[in-house]
């Protein structure tokens, strides 16, 4: 019962947030709606017993990436970039009817394809008996330093590279 409630509310939050990101006119709102989506996804993780993933999702996305996004929005002048530096009005940055038509067509093609695949797959799928929940943290920790240690190390190097690269790219320069 609680599981179903959690799933429903999370799914609703996710889908509503995603739709909001697509259709809002304000970039700041879009960021906040994305945050709602991420919370929803975290709840969905929790429903299927992925406790560590849910926590990581909250910490990394909600705590890190969205804050970063908001900073970037503020540093680049928020939504008020309809004018470029020559004062000429440009296409609305958050999209116009034309771009939405392009997007709708592409999405139509893509979703048609994906749904076709999913339908095929669902017909043959027989869910087995599900295991009871248990904490995944210990197992993830063990796997990270045994079977997946190479990927783990490479991702650490990737993060370091991203850190240094971001600092190097964004540092203010004279002239």
């Amino acid at each position: 019962m609680f599981e179903n409630f959690l799933f429903l509310s999370s799914a609703l939050l996710t889908l509503a947030g995603a739709l909001g990101v697509v259709f809002t006119k304000n970039l700041m709102h879009a960021c906040v709606l994305l945050l709602a989506t991420l919370f929803g996804v975290s709840g969905l993780y929790a429903v299927i017993g992925a406790d560590f993933l849910a926590a990581s999702q909250l910490v990394v996305y909600a705590g890190g990436v969205i804050i970063l996004m908001l900073f970037a929005v503020m540093l680049t002048g928020g939504t008020a970039d309809n004018d470029n530096k020559f004062g000429i009005e440009k296409v609305a940055a958050m999209g116009s009817v034309k771009t939405y038509i392009y997007a709708g067509l592409t999405v139509l093609v893509m979703s048609f394809t994906i749904l076709k695949i999913l339908a095929n797959y669902m017909r043959t799928f027989e869910p087995g008996k599900l295991a009871p929940f248990e904490s995944t943290v210990e197992e993830i920790g063990t796997l990270l330093v045994t079977d997946h240690v190479l990927a783990f190390e490479i991702s650490s190097i990737l993060l370091l590279g991203a850190l240094v690269g971001a600092a190097a790219i964004a540092r203010p320069r004279k002239g």
Partner: protein, 101 residues
């Protein structure tokens, strides 16, 4: 109600939303938001398959790496956005048609 098909549908919805955002928006940061949505849909898929099909936690690890990569991508992407803004004073994607500053 909590089943693979519902998860796959949510994941599909997230992916489609992300795709729509990436094509419809002209603001670079908004496009980055779309990328985040797509990455989330992929991660959710991994976790769902791990739960309902494989019944182990290798999928969790994959989702974890996706989160890590998303964080790195966001950091670098936003750094590029800020740098781009410093140079061009705009974050309109159609201004970014040339490789040179």
């Amino acid at each position: 109600m909590v089943s693979l098909s519902s998860y796959l549908f949510i994941s599909f919805a997230l992916f489609i939303s992300g795709l729509a955002v990436m094509i419809a928006r002209k603001n670079i940061i908004a496009i980055l938001l779309g990328i985040e949505l797509i990455l989330n849909s992929a991660a959710l898929n991994f976790a769902a398959y791990a739960r309902f099909v494989n019944q182990n936690i290798d999928g969790h690890l994959m989702s974890l790496f996706i989160i890590v990569i998303a964080a790195a991508e966001a950091a670098v992407g936003l750094a590029i956005v800020i740098r781009f803004f410093q140079i061009k004073e705009t974050i309109h994607i159609d201004d970014a048609t040339q490789l040179q500053a």
